[in-house]
């Protein structure tokens, strides 16, 4: 089937060459901002003997509360998950150094070697942070996907041999050197031989190959279901190996890659290096669970690679890094000050976290409607600042590496309806759901009934896709218990309300197209302000269903939700 392109098309080779002009001075701003990050978030200042953030705060007569952490640095929302080889500060220093090295390499490498530069920096960086076994497992998992999808690629049999060698090394574990060598050589020989034998069948495709590919892409969901079922039966909680967990955290990107492949947008003979560059990038390392879908699949990246002058892209990335730093440094401070202001000046009791609000409600606290409304908004504002900071950092890193990536958050306060908010609040997540769930349903079902068509496609994406493939994996990959899965599934009312809100908005907009652009400076701008508030308030309020607490029930959450509308129902 011919491809459905989301946005734009891959830049032509001559455009890529034109956009690849070196301007060495751009190294300075990248280095300056990364050094600023190092000064804020690592022990670099102490090592160099320059004033630390805490010393600067004290010199200025500021306490630095809620901004500084225990060791005199800025409390960081940027971190490296799943590893404890180094301290958090040292991990961050390694990531920043790795990003700078990768930037230099990618910036100056010839066009055809840029992908190799990305992977080339990721592998040692990952190995230092997570260890060799995790690195080998992650690479082996991706090589397996590449072998299943690209049997006609040059060197695929050698790739199978490499896969066998990696698996052999993992299987040998702590065996003596001769044993390891035997396992590596044996694994390589067996895998290469086996792959050579089955390769014609993989090239032909067919149902079994399609199932194998789908299973590889859905490794994450298969692992979650298998581990939770096993835990329910045996009581044993399985901890996923780090390399596999990292692979599973790329579930959404793998699904988009699969969709790209099915739509013919991925070259069948894609070389291994180009495949790995989609997934194995230093940008994927910090804050693994924050917007793991960022970067999408193959086509998305190709359409964004060097779409403009690379130095302009780098500078736009650096600007985003500056914005990210501001968000991350002041997020907790700003929300805490606002909570104090509401309590002391306005006399409204406000909880900084929706989870605290829910706990207080379950404990029998008499919560007023303003408390419910303001608390849920404050929590969303805090999440926006923290997530916005972290995702801006990651998007900035993509841009520094030469990709014109959209920001995850795009001034969500301008959204005057839920459909617009959904796009402005989580652009990349929305793109993932549209690509993987909305499109297939939209083009296959109810073609003659337009309202139903839009409604069902939106509901499938926003309820089923959002809950099962959006919400469950990040919640359960690191805690493979049945209770975690059940708690995740119990949040369905949030997804249903969000899905209904977005679907109804879509249908209304389709039936009654706008005649006026929102935020036009006329007297109806007051309505825009009201719509923007109501939209965001509704979105914030439904979060009471997604913060389940011990002892909570659907009815208890519903009562709290209704209290936001001024409806007091006794339990």
């Amino acid at each position: 089937m011919a491809g459905v392109r989301l946005r734009g098309s891959k830049p032509a080779p001559e455009a890529l060459r034109a956009h690849d002009r070196h301007r060495p001075w751009v190294i300075a701003p990248v280095l300056a901002v990364l050094l600023l990050y190092c000064w804020c978030y690592t022990h670099l200042a102490a090592w160099l003997g320059v004033p630390t953030p805490a010393e600067v705060f004290h010199a200025l007569g500021l306490s630095g509360g809620r901004i500084l952490d225990g060791d005199g640095n800025v409390d960081s929302k940027l971190y490296v998950s799943l590893t404890a080889i180094f301290s958090n500060d040292d991990e961050r220093l390694i990531v920043f150094a790795g990003l700078f090295g990768c930037f230099l390499n990618v910036y100056f490498a010839p066009l055809r070697y840029k992908n190799q530069a990305i992977v080339g920096w990721f592998v040692p960086l990952f190995a230092v942070l997570y260890g060799l076994p995790a690195t080998v497992l992650l690479i082996a998992a991706h090589v397996a996907v590449w072998l299943a999808f690209h049997p006609t690629a040059r060197g695929s049999v050698a790739g199978a041999g490499a896969f066998g060698a990696l698996v052999g090394w993992l299987a040998a574990g702590s065996a003596a050197l001769p044993g390891q060598a035997l396992a590596i050589a044996g694994g390589a020989a067996v895998a290469a031989g086996l792959y050579r034998w089955i390769r014609p069948a993989v090239i032909r495709g067919g149902r079994i190959v399609a199932v194998v590919r789908a299973c590889l892409i859905q490794t994450c969901m298969i692992m979650i279901v298998a581990a939770t079922v096993r835990q329910a039966i045996t009581g044993h909680v399985w901890v996923m190996p780090v390399g596999l967990a990292f692979f599973c955290f790329q579930w959404a990107r793998l699904m988009v890659y699969h969709a790209d492949y099915r739509d013919g947008e991925v070259p069948r003979d894609l070389p291994l290096g180009d495949y790995l560059a989609v997934f194995l990038t230093p940008v994927a390392i910090p804050n693994l669970a924050y917007a793991p879908y960022l970067g999408q699949g193959y086509a998305f990246l190709q359409e964004r690679r060097l779409t403009e002058d690379k130095s302009a892209l780098v500078l736009s990335g650096v600007k985003l890094w500056c914005l990210a730093l501001m968000y991350m440094v002041f997020a907790e401070y700003a929300t805490a000050r606002f909570v104090v202001f509401m309590r002391e000046v306005c006399g409204v009791e406000v909880y900084k976290f929706t989870s605290e609000l829910v706990q207080a409600h379950l404990a029998g606290a008499e919560l007023s409607t303003p408390t419910v409304l303001v608390s849920t908004i404050v929590d969303q504002a805090r999440i926006f600042l923290i997530y916005g900071g972290v995702t801006h950092f990651r998007v900035g890193a993509w841009r520094v590496l030469g990709y014109r990536m959209e920001t995850q958050y795009d001034r969500p306060w301008l959204a005057t309806n839920l459909a617009a908010l959904w796009s402005r609040w989580a652009f990349h997540f929305r793109e993932f759901l549209v690509r993987v769930f909305y499109y297939p349903v939209f083009f296959a079902w109810f073609k003659r009934r337009r309202t139903l068509r839009i409604f069902v496609a939106t509901m499938v994406a926003t309820v089923v896709g959002n809950l099962i493939w959006g919400h469950i994996p990040p919640r359960t990959i690191l805690d493979l218990r049945g209770s975690t899965l059940a708690a995740g599934l119990s949040t369905w009312p949030y997804f249903l309300l969000l899905g209904l809100g977005i679907s109804i908005t879509q249908v209304v907009l389709l039936r009654r197209p706008r005649t006026r652009k929102p935020w036009t400076r006329d007297r109806r701008i007051v309505l825009d302000v009201l719509c923007a508030y109501l939209t965001f308030q509704f979105f914030a309020l439904i979060h009471v269903f997604i913060r389940p607490q011990e002892g909570g029930s659907l009815w208890a959450y519903t009562r709290l939700f209704l209290r936001g509308f001024g409806i007091h129902v006794d339990g």
Partner: protein
């Protein structure tokens, strides 16, 4: 319906539904790189084409060749209308 009339209708739809401040949509403006808001814009355009011109847009038809400009879309609709 002539191709010029179709192009005018499509042009009016894009300028109303996806206004870009300070920019003018020409018949040859690259819709995919310069005008579409996001992926949802594509399905909304598909719905618009089906509703307005009574054609059946297949998924296979939603590709760069047909969607890259107002002129290309008009030509596509004209072909579908027969």
């Amino acid at each position: 319906m002539t191709e010029a009339e179709i192009a005018r209708t499509i042009h009016a739809y894009f300028t109303a539904s996806y206004p870009h401040l300070g920019r003018t949509l020409e018949y040859d403006t690259d819709l995919l790189n310069e005008w579409f808001v996001d992926s949802l814009g594509i399905v909304q355009t598909v719905q618009f084409l089906e509703d307005t011109f009574g054609i059946d847009v297949a998924r296979a038809d939603v590709q760069v060749d047909n969607f890259h400009s107002v002129r290309a879309l008009a030509a596509y609709v004209r072909r579908k209308l027969g």
